[in-house]
Every structure is written in C-alpha cells, then in structure tokens.
Amino acid sequence: MTLSPKGAAPTRRALYESRLRRRATLIAAGSTTAIVLAIVILVPLAPGWAAVKKSFFNGPVFAKTFPGLLDAFLMDIAIFAWCAPLIAISGLAIALCRDVRNPVLFPLRAFGALYTDIFRGLPVILVIYLIGFGIPGLGLPRPWNSPYIWGSLALILTYAAYVAEVIRSGIDSIHQSQRAAAQSLGLSDTDTMRYVILPQALRNVVPANMNLFIALQKDVALLSFIGPVEIFRQAGVYKSLMANFTPYVGAALIFLAVTIPATRYADYLMNRQRARR
C-alpha cells in the first residue's frame, strides 16, 4: 500500500489505488446483496417453505425451549472446563514421550507413537461409546462408573492425541542448532527441552491448539450419547416432545455464539504470529 505523507496531496498512485478499493467494495457489496436477496426471495417461494418454517423456525417453540437450552449449555461448558486443562497436560506429556532420545526410554517413544496412532485413528463417538459403557461395565462401584468420568476420559484420550501431534510438530519446528547451542552451554537434555525448546515450540502451536479446543467445545455434545443431558440432548428431548426441530436451531445458535468469537480469536492469533515472523 502506498501512503502519502501526512498533509501532502495524495499521489496519483494513491488515488488510483483508492479508486480500485472503492470499486472492489462496491462490487462485493452488490454481489452480496444480490445473493442475500435471491435467498430471501427464492427460498420462501419453494413449495415446502411453510412446512419447513413451521418445523425449523417456529417462534413460539423457540421461545419456549431457548431458556432450557441455555441452561443445558452450562453442562457443555462445565465438561469443557475440566477436560481442556487435562488434555493440555496429557498432550504435552505424550509429545515429550515421543521426543525422548535416550535408548533406554525407547518404550516411551513406542508408547507415544502407538497412542497417537490409535486415538487419532478412531472416531470420537466410538471411543466415547466403548469407554463410556465398557469400563463401567467391568463392575465398578458408584461413583466410579459415572458417565461423566468415563465420557470425559474418552474426550481427553482422543484430544490429547491430536494436541500431542501439534506440540510435537512445534518441537520439530525448532532448529536443531538450538539444541546444539544449549548443550554447548552445558545444559542437560531436560533443561534444554524445558528452557530452550518448549517455550518456543509451545508459542508456535498456540493457534493450532486453539482450533482443537474449538473442535472440543463442539464434541462435548457427543457425551450425550452415554447419558449426560447437555444442550444437544436437551434439544432432542424438546424435539421429540413437540415433534419440531426448532430447538436444534436454537442449540446451533448458542454454539455459534461461542465458537465464532473463538474462531476469530484463533485467526487473530495466527495472523499476529505470521506478522511477527
């Protein structure tokens, strides 16, 4: 971008560029308006619109169910709140396992690789079903067979695998010369990792991990399959009582209210990091 010095008359280049920008903005606004108008006008013309509107965008049903949905969303937030830190810790631990270089500790490396292979390779819902119903089925007494515990464990196991891979890629992104330099200063392997590699690696992977946590916020809803009544299940209950899908639309809106700002924040972090490089 060419900026003219403050107070000076704009250069021809600056004028030309601002004209281009204005034109681009006008075209963008025009095409967006056209598409929005087309949707707003054409969709209600569809023969089934009245029925769809009654089933999915039903004002009275929305008003009746929305407070209950908000209430149930607290459960999602609670599950997220206790899972997220545990995922961060275990993800880091697994990533470190995969990075050990001492031959004696090879079993740790093998464990790290096997772990990430398994839990990255399985659909979350499958892990939740197997662990959520399977482990309590071993005959654990209360409260140790609670679906909250085992469902959360399933989420933690799965997401820790993803986080571990992200952190490992962060560790790999730190140039080998830094390890050499640290060691030539007399730092031990552990201290090199702790004071030199990890601080840089973790900062590099913050945006990628943000995206994972947004995904986790959505996947919390999967715990409803093993019993807990969170927002998705609550919406399902309303749906079957009223034979109306509007509660799902309400639930979607509540999710978006949380995930869109979080996504924007992750984008912002990523852009800032790119700018810094």
Partner: protein, 278 residues
C-alpha cells in the same frame, strides 16, 4: 384402475346381494385416491422394530401387536394383506417436513397436544401403563415398588419418547435423570450400573426385562390414570392427511367389534400381574 374400482363398487351396491362385500367396498372408496400409491397402503415402523410390538423385526409377518393392528386396520379400510407395504423410518424422519414415504407410521407414538400441532394422529389403538424397569441387584439393595423408595434412584430414559416428562411428572426423581438415544443404550447403561431404573411403556419393559437385560426386573407399573394424560399410542400421519378419517373409522370399528381387544390379548397378555406403584 380407479374407474374399474368405481364400476365394481357400483355393481356391488346396485346388485346388493352381498352386504359384507358392499361394506368393504364402501370403506375402500373412503381410502381410494388418498394413499401415496393408488390401491396400496404404505405403513412405516421403526428400525429395528421391537417385540412385542413387532415380532422378529418382521412386520410383514403380521406377528406382534402393532403388526397385527396394522393389518386389521388395512383390512378394515379395504386393503388386503398383499396390498400392504412396509417401510422403515426413524422418529425424526416421521416428523420432518416434506414429502413422506408412508401413509401412516406406527411405532408407539404417544399422542400429545404439542405433537398434534405438527402432525396428525389417529384415534388411539393402545393405552399403556408406564412401568419401571430395574435389575435384580437394585431390588436386592432393598428397593420396593413405592413412590418414596424409587424417588432416590438414579433414573434413565429414552430421550426420544414421552417417558422423560412422564418421569418428571409421575416420579419426580431427586437426581437429574440420564437420557439415551434408544432402548439398547438404556439397557447398556443399566447393565453398567450407571442407572438404577428406567421408565418404559409396560409391554416394552416386560420384553426388555425378560429378554434383553441380564437380571432385569419390572419393579411395578403406574396406574394409567396416574399421569395427567394417559400414554395413548396413535398412528402418526402427515398433517392434513385426508386418510385420517378412514383410519379413525377403521379403528372405531375394530374397537367396537372387539378385534383390538383380541389382538391385545394375543400379544400383550403378560401385561397384567405386575404390581401397581401407588
């Protein structure tokens, strides 16, 4: 086809030699032209469809309470056994807007005013008591079929049914209930000891206790009038389906002739002798 039917109808009525035949033809003219496919009645049920409602997940055998009722209703409306076609739908497919692939859908749909805003129900073909399914180990721990005793249990229910509001209204459990997607998941949770008890319509509870759940016990049933509105099952139809009148006529006729009671005695006879929870 239609004109042929009409012609036959006219001949039967004008000759008037066989009153039974004339009656059947009369019903057929009620339903003719109102089904999805002319001359065929398409009935939907769940997938899988559970005993005792449908035996062996094969509704076309006519075995099981709902399968038998379906064929009786079809017969009454003038559709012979070979004119009935079965399709499978989930609950959500049954209520979603847009073209339906069935004339009516029967999978223990409870009739409620809220649902009636969105879909049409026939007159009820069954009124069920709600029953408590639990396991022998819970009973061994001293749970009795009394209100006080069952309030403190950890409850579960199938979230896609009216069991949830019934549970809150009839029992009012002290702890928040757990909800599942279907009977299989409820029984899995009960097997894993995660819930103590669950609410089902009585025939389903009896089946789950006897066949599906290891050590399953039906603790008791609630009197049908316990709930503000008893749990009545109706055939679900698309809102404004012109067939509703004919279906209602058929169910009224079957109720009056005692046919429905006969089918009930055949498939749901065990549904007595379970203690009543007061």
């Amino acid at each position: 086809m239609k004109s042929l039917t009409l012609a036959l109808c006219a001949i039967t009525v004008s000759v008037g030699t066989a009153p039974g035949l004339a009656l059947a033809a009369g019903h057929e003219s009620c339903a003719s032209g109102k089904t999805r496919t002319d001359g065929v009645l398409i009935i939907a049920t769940g997938n899988p469809a559970y005993y005792p409602w449908v035996a062996d997940n094969k509704p076309e055998s006519g075995k099981g309470y709902e399968a038998a009722i379906a064929y009786a209703v079809a017969q009454e409306m003038g559709f012979d056994k070979d004119k009935v076609k079965w399709v499978r739908t989930s609950f959500d497919e049954a209520i979603q807007p847009g073209a339906k692939n069935f004339d009516f859908n029967m999978q223990q749909f409870s009739i409620t005013p809220e649902r009636q805003e969105m879909v049409d129900f026939s007159l009820p073909y069954y009124t069920s008591a709600m029953a408590v399914l639990t396991t022998q180990s819970v009973v061994d721990n001293g749970v009795e079929p009394t209100m006080d005793s069952i309030k403190g249990l950890i409850w579960g229910a199938d979230a896609n049914t009216t069991a949830v509001p019934m549970l809150m209204q009839i029992v009012g459990p002290t702890k928040d209930p757990m909800l599942y997607s279907d009977n299989t998941d409820v029984t899995a949770a009960m097997q894993a000891g995660q819930i103590d008890a669950a609410l089902f319509d009585l025939p389903t509870a009896l089946y789950l206790a006897a066949v599906v759940l290891d050590g399953g016990v039906v603790l008791g049933q609630f009197p049908a009038d316990r709930a503000e509105n008893p749990d009545q099952f109706g055939l679900l139809m698309e809102k404004g389906n012109p067939l509703k009148e004919c279906v209602d006529d058929a169910i009224t006729a079957l109720t009056e002739s005692g046919e429905i009671a006969k089918i009930e005695a055949r498939w749901l006879q065990e549904a007595t002798g379970v203690p009543v929870i007061q």
